[in-house]
Symmetry: C2
Subunit: 263 residues, 2 copies
């Protein structure tokens, strides 16, 4: 299971300012901190980038790749920014992402073929709404898969995000359970070992005590691992969550257990 830092994001004021001013220093610093904390890939959540999308995403990708060899996830709904990021990319990049939303099918999905990259597909309705349960998510997954085939993209390029809802939603815990079922059942449904990703921070978006939220995050993560998730996008500075992830790794590694790995 691969841990992806969601820390480079526009909602962080320091990152927002650095992007505005094309100041590489705070971005480099945070990327280094993410690596030290255990990140195995870096999500670049730039927001929609209404102004200078190409220039800004290229700046972000270049700044990060100057000091890090980790794969980057180009996380924006702006196809111009995505393409610019893919052009700037000199290492490994993943598009994050597309959905059945017509504009995304048209402008984002083809980029995965053009640039031969992996691409994350969200299990959302064409109108962007979250499906209510597992069967509906699986229906969307089949449609998403068909779109990937239609676009001439290899199936191994698809990474599915079943879309975790905040646990504070009315039916948040039901949604969390359904997401686990989706992850468990997708390979059988689609007939190949489809890769999956979940944005763990989504679970605890919104109000609530920090300690309780962290406890929920740490409690849900092993359930994801046990459902055989491929990648988890999370706040990599949550040290106890990362330690839990490593313990889960050791529990599911299916080989001789090494205490040393849990340091």
């Amino acid at each position: 299971m691969i841990l992806i830092a969601d820390n480079i994001q526009i909602t962080n004021k320091k990152i927002e300012r650095a992007m505005e001013n094309y100041d590489p220093v705070p971005i480099r610093k945070m990327v280094k901190e993410c690596e030290s904390a255990g990140a195995e890939a870096i999500d670049i959540n730039s927001g929609p980038l209404y102004r200078d999308p190409e220039k800004k995403m290229a700046f972000l990708v270049e700044t990060i790749q100057e000091i890090s060899d980790l794969p980057v996830l180009i996380d924006t709904a702006n196809p111009r920014a995505i393409e610019s990021g893919l052009n700037a990319n000199k290492k490994e990049a993943i598009i994050n992402g597309f959905s059945l939303e017509p504009a995304k099918l048209e402008a984002i999905l083809p980029l995965a073929k053009k640039y031969e990259t992996d691409i994350i597909g969200y299990l959302l309705y064409p109108n962007g709404h979250v499906p209510p349960d597992e069967p509906e998510r699986l229906n969307v997954a089949v449609e998403l898969y068909q779109e990937v085939m239609k676009a001439g993209i290899e199936e191994k390029r698809l990474i599915i995000d079943p879309v975790l809802a905040p646990v504070t939603w009315n039916n948040g815990s039901f949604q969390a359970a359904e997401v686990l079922n989706v992850i468990r059942n997708l390979p059988d449904l689609l007939g190949f070992p489809v890769k999956t990703i979940v944005g763990l921070s989504n679970l605890i978006t919104g109000g609530g005590y920090r300690e309780k939220k962290l406890l929920l995050e740490r409690s849900y993560l092993p359930m994801l691992v046990s459902s055989d998730i491929t990648m988890i996008l999370l706040n990599i500075f949550h040290a106890e969550t990362v330690r839990t992830a490593r313990a889960c790794d050791s529990l599911t590694r299916q080989k001789v257990f090494a205490w040393e790995d849990l340091g």
Copy 2:
């Protein structure tokens, strides 16, 4: 999911001494502490009780039930002690437990019918060895179920323990993963919502740093919950593990989430 304290056990010197001297005070104290810590049932692990098994188990059950209304699990391989405990029982008791071992089939299983109690069945070979994987455990489960039927016991009385191995075993993490699969697949295999239990402390039996062992325990517990386990037997004084269990409950409760419950 029900949390059962495994703290009343003969390997605890205080408890051993209290049993030897028929001194109810340390036992009462610990049972009260277990209740405060969140125990919903109390396992009475008396060991084999070579001397005075009837008198000792009756003393234990009576002492606990004088001050607690929690169900008790009568946890010994000695059928005389079990029967004495069931006779002394004035509240709810569960037999813990039997296996395909001929002596247990003969002398322990029938007690579940005679006293109309639930009984835990261990997925172990007749010689007491641990099956190597999920398919073998499921074979044993079918045989165990057939024995329960033969003994004229209602199927709802059966609680299956798939037998968790220490993670320090050569293939410990493989075993831990197989146990999850067993728990998940038993209801389909046997055709009814079979109850399950796991002794979580088994996972971290043996050497290793305490903090790492607790982390492993806390990381494995959500996997058990996500496999829909009915009961977890654990050291109820591991406060963070109990908090994790409560967080898991809130994540799987399939109703509106209440932050208050996570106190």
